[in-house]
Structures are given as C-alpha cells and as structure tokens.
C-alpha cells in the first residue's frame, strides 16, 4: 500500500525501545495523555467495565427467566435490571466500542497521520464519557431507574420513581463526548490524510468511521435536547410530552427515535468496516466492489435517518406516516445487502484461512444477515402488529448488536491486538472462545424469535408456563456466551505480558498501520508515508503458491 516495504513474515524482533506504551509510565501520563493510542486504551478499559455492569444485569434477568414465576427478583427490580442493561450496553458500551477504542487507535495510523486533528478534544471526550458514566452509575447505585432504556413519556417524565434525571444527565453528558469524537474523526479524515491517500484509497474501516461520525454529529444533539425536555417536564412540569399538561407523548418518541434509530447504525457501521478489513486479509483478496461498499456506508448513514417511525407503528402514529416509514425501512436493506453480497464475492476464489478474527467476521456476516432480514419482518406494518414488543424484537436487535456488533468488536480486537500490544494472543484458546460465543449466542437468542412469534411480551419477569423450555434454552445459551466472553478477558490480559512477540505485521496485511512497529512509537511514523496504491493489494494466487511450496 505504500512505498515502504511490508514485513513478509512475522519476525521475533526485539520490542522497539520506545513505544507509546513505555514512553512515560506514570498514572498522570495516562490520565493527561493526548496520544490517540493511549486514549483508545483508556476507552477500552472503561467500556469493558461498563460491559461487565450491563452483563451482570443481563445475567440476573436470564436467571430470573429460568422459571415462569417471579421467584428471584421482584417485578420492580426486574424493571430496573432491564433498564440498567439497556442504558449501559447502548450508551456506555455499544456506541463507543469500535469508534472510540479501535477508531481512536487506528484512524490516524490508517491515513498516515501522527494523531487525530484535535488531540486535546479527544481526551476531553473521554472525560465527558466518564463523567456521564459516573452519573449513570450513581443513578444505578442510588436505587436505579425503571423506565426502560427508551425513557418513554409521560411515564418517565411524570410517574416513574427513581433517579430518572440523573440517568438522563449521564447520557446527556456522554453524548457530548460522542459529538466531540465524531467531529474529531470528520476533521481528521478531511485534513490529516497522508500524501497520496485519496478518498478512493481510504481503507473501508475509515469510510465506516467517517459515516458513523456524521451520524454522531447530526443525531446526538437531538437526543440531548429530547432528554433535556423530558427532564424539564419531570422537574418543573413544563408541558411538552404529557397530554395532561398539553403535551404530546408521541413527540417524545419521534425525537427519541430520530436519534436512536440512527444510533443502531452508529453501532453497526464500524462493525461493517471491520469486517471489510478482516475478510480481505484472511481471503487474501482485494475487496469486491470497493466503491459500492464505501457508498453503501454513506447510503446506510443517510437512509438510517429516514426510518425512525417504524418503532411507532402501533403507537397511534398516522397510518400514512407508517406506510412511508415502512417503505423507507425496506430501502435500508439495499445497501446492507450490497455489503453482504460484496463480502461473499470477496471470499470467492480467495485463499481463505480461519484465524480467530476471520471466525468473528464470518460469524458477523451470518448473524447480521439474520438480524437484518428479521428487521424486514418488523418493518412490515401488519406483521409488526403481531410481534411488536415481543421477544421477536429482542432477538432481532440482539442479532444485530451482539451477533453483529460485538462479534465485529471482538474480531477487530483480536486482529489489531498484535499492533496494540506487540504480542500475539493464544490462537487455540481464542478459537474456542469465538466458537463458544457463536454457539452460545445462537442458543440464547434464536429461541427468543420463537418466543416472540408465540406471543411472549418483552419486559415481563413472569410468563406463561408453556414458554419455559425455550426460556431455559435461552438461559443455557447465555451461560455459554458468558464463558465465551470471559475467555478473551483472561487470555488477552495474559498475552499482554506472556504472548509471543508479534512483529510489525503478523497477518501480512496491507494498510499503513502495519508498516509501523508493534506497538507503534508515540508519533506512529518516523517519516510521513506516501501512498501510491489502493488498500487491499492482496494476491490470493501468490498466497496459494506459497502455501503449496511450504507443504511440498
């Protein structure tokens, strides 16, 4: 990809003397860093902690659902558990995950820059995120909130007990962190590209980060305003959403979903970018239809803003608006399908190897497709009446967010782990974890499609006895899934110190980030790279010939 020669084989070279990790090691040097790579690691630690909080709430819910009776927690506690799970997972894990961890780490390196455009604002973003997180944790510890992550009015603004305003304030503050990150990435992509790095030579991960950033900047302010209006109504009785005060409850849903539906694409677009990087590297092939995959990211970002009303089909929204939103929702399937077909076409006649990141990428494609197609069921006006607010919806969006997004995050983490730490993770254990996650995930969430179709509503902890078998299957799957999540937590930490030395480019991948030492020096590149080729200059035939020669 550059004039610099890529490392042909992973070589056990001595660790570079000065890296971003060892340049300064005091706690202050981490907490006051403006290095995009260190900020990425700050985010990584933070979102892992939030993932554990959200995961603990999910564990308690799944345990409660083992039996049809409410015998583990009271209904009020259950309401708080699913609210904690939703709020923490959406705003404090999924939305920041790939952009703030891998995006922060990789974006400057992928475009040949030394840092993001505004390093200090980048650090401020993390502090905003943590400030927001502190409010959310305070709200949880001081009694919790039972509104669900959607904060529907007038329940949240008038009737709900608990620290609704504190929770909303947390999300409000963290949102400003998101906006600042989005702004930073947009300016970085426009202004910091190395000589020769034209838009059509950008890695697809950069395209996906760019489009995600645009959504972050355009949508998040609407959420901030919406939550502020809800808090105003709750604190001062200003009539905005509550009909008894002259407000309109559906206005909240319009404003909330104007942010929260695009937020789904904030979560999934970076995952799609990751998959494009992994599929090409492990199939040793150029991406099929680069321009289409890049344009599909833009199309998803734009169309994602036009579909929010499909969350409101049964809310007394006008049926005519419902029809428009239904048609527009179907249209999002087109760019999504372009991506899936192009990844599949990229695999065709590739020299495929099944390293752990590739397992996650292939898992993503299958699970995202199921999640996406079941989304079309929900976008159909009549079918939605039947499955609205049932476990069908829960299964659908977990296929997108866990099956898609978390798979992509873990795939990316494994793929770039050698770059981040300079060490390899243990491959067999990692494959075991990937397979556990795939199997556990499907066992957890596939029964929920059936439960929803049969009519089990979401957000209830007591259910009809005939649903028990499927719920037990789901809880059993969740325990396998949990094991799959704890494995990487253990072996990645272990490999940080004891893993095999990775060398600059263990995957023989293209991309500017692989031309620097692992871990990279503070300023990424000694000299500014000059880009002369597109991304993904892989040759599957040459790889096959090498493999044959090696096994001859």
């Amino acid at each position: 990809m550059t004039t610099a020669t890529l490392q042909a084989e992973p070589q056990p070279v001595a660790r570079v003397a000065r890296t971003y990790l060892n340049e300064r090691t005091t706690i202050a040097s981490w907490l006051l860093t403006t290095d995009h790579k260190r900020i990425a690691l700050l985010y990584m630690v933070s979102i892992t902690l939030f993932f554990l909080i959200g995961g603990a709430a999910a564990t308690l819910m799944r345990l409660e659902l083992l039996t049809p009776q409410g015998d583990l927690v009271a209904s009020d506690t259950y309401n708080k558990l699913f609210t904690i799970h939703g709020v923490v997972m959406v705003w404090f894990f999924l939305i920041p995950s790939i952009p703030t961890v891998l995006g922060n780490f990789l974006l400057p390196m992928m475009i040949g820059a030394r840092d993001v455009a505004f390093p200090k604002i980048n650090l401020a973003s993390w502090y905003l995120f943590m400030g927001g997180g502190a409010f959310a944790v305070f709200s949880i510890l001081s009694g919790g909130v039972d509104t669900g992550w959607t904060f529907y009015t007038p329940y949240s603004s008038t009737y709900a007990n608990g620290h609704v305003i504190a929770m909303a304030t947390g999300i409000f503050i963290a949102g400003f962190g998101s906006i600042a990150t989005g702004l930073n990435f947009i300016v970085t992509t426009h202004k910091m590209r190395a000589p020769g790095m034209t838009w059509m030579k950008l890695p697809l991960f950069v395209w996906s980060l760019y489009t995600t950033s645009i959504i972050l900047v355009l949508a998040t302010p609407v959420l901030a305003i919406t939550l502020a209006l809800m808090a105003l109504e709750r604190a001062f009785g200003v009539g905005i959403f509550n009909p008894s005060l002259g407000g309109d409850p559906l206005l909240f849903q319009h404003l909330f979903w104007f942010y929260s539906h695009p937020a789904v694409y904030i979560m999934i677009l970076p995952g799609m970018g990751v998959v494009s990087e992994l599929i090409t590297c492990f199939a040793r092939k150029k991406i099929f239809g680069y321009q289409f995959v890049a344009a599909a990211s833009v199309a998803i970002a734009v169309l994602g803003f036009l579909v929010w009303g499909h969350h409101m089909f049964v809310s007394s929204q006008s049926i005519y608006a419902g029809m428009i939103f239904s048609v527009l929702s179907f249209m999002v399937a087109i760019p999504s399908a372009i991506k899936v077909f192009n990844w599949t076409a990229t695999l065709y006649k590739g020299s495929i190897s099944f390293h752990t990141p590739m397992l996650y990428a292939l898992g993503f494609i299958g699970l995202f497709t199921i999640g996406g197609l079941t989304g079309l069921f929900l976008a159909s006006l009549a079918v939605d009446v039947h499955v609205h607010d049932t476990y069908f919806v829960i299964a659908h969006f977990h296929y997108i967010m866990v099956g898609g997004m978390v798979m992509a995050y873990l795939g990316a983490l494994h793929f770039w782990w050698p770059k981040i730490t300079g060490r390899m993770y243990p491959e067999w254990l990692a494959k075991l974890a990937a397979l556990s996650i795939f199997a556990g995930f499907n066992l957890t969430f596939f029964p929920q499609f059936i439960l929803g179709y049969l009519g089990m509503p979401r957000r209830y902890h007591v259910y009809a006895p005939e649903f028990q078998v499927l719920n037990v299957l789901s809880t059993a799957g969740a325990s396998i899934l949990a094991l799959g999540y704890f494995l990487p937590l253990g072996y990645l930490l272990w490999s940080w110190k004891y893993g095999k030395i990775a060398g600059p480019n263990p995957w023989r991948a293209t991309g500017l980030e692989w031309t620097t030492p692992s871990p990279p020096p503070k300023d990424n590149f000694d000299t500014t790279p000059i880009v002369t080729e597109g991304p993904y200059e892989y040759d599957p035939r040459a790889t096959e010939a090498e493999l044959r020669a090696a096994h001859a």
Binding site: H254, S318, F325
Partner: protein
C-alpha cells in the same frame, strides 16, 4: 479557513441585535395573531439562529466545505420536521 475574523465591534452589534430580537419575541407573545403567533416566533428565531451561525460561528468567513456541513445540519433538521409532520398532519385522514 479564511483569515478574516469578526471584530469585537461586530460581536457587540450582534449581541445587541440578538437581545433586541429576544425583546421582539417577548413582545410578539403578547399580541394575539392567532395561528401567526407561531409563524412570527419561528421567523424571529430563524433570524437569531442565522446571526449566530454567520457571525458567532464564523460561517460568513468560512470556506464552502464548512457551508456544506452547516447546510447538512439544517437539511437534517428539515428531515426531522418533514417526516414528523407527516405523522401529525395526516392523523385525521380517513
């Protein structure tokens, strides 16, 4: 970005203009114009927003790319308003 920046005098004039528009908003709220109360309030707020974007946010002194991004923000607001009104205005249809 263009090197030209607003002078302190421009800021002060703008600030006074914004305060005057605020006064106008309050005054207009006391007039009974029927449905036109909303229209007048919207027009005044558009004028305020325009002044802020042009001078305080330096849009008047910026390159076309910045205008495109600012325009995108307004366009996206338009999407929100049009599609949400698509609900409100058709609820009574049979």
């Amino acid at each position: 970005m263009n090197e030209m920046h607003p002078t302190p005098r421009t800021y002060i004039i703008n600030c006074v203009a914004l305060l005057a528009l605020l006064g106008l908003t309050i005054a207009a709220a006391y007039l009974n114009l029927g449905p036109f109360n909303t229209v007048v309030a919207m027009l005044i707020s558009l004028a305020k927003g325009g002044l802020i974007a042009l001078f305080f946010m330096h849009l008047r002194y910026s390159k076309p790319l910045i205008w495109i991004f600012a325009g995108a923000g307004v366009f996206w607001l338009g999407i929100m308003l049009v599609l949400a009104l698509g609900d409100y205005l058709t609820r009574g249809w049979r």
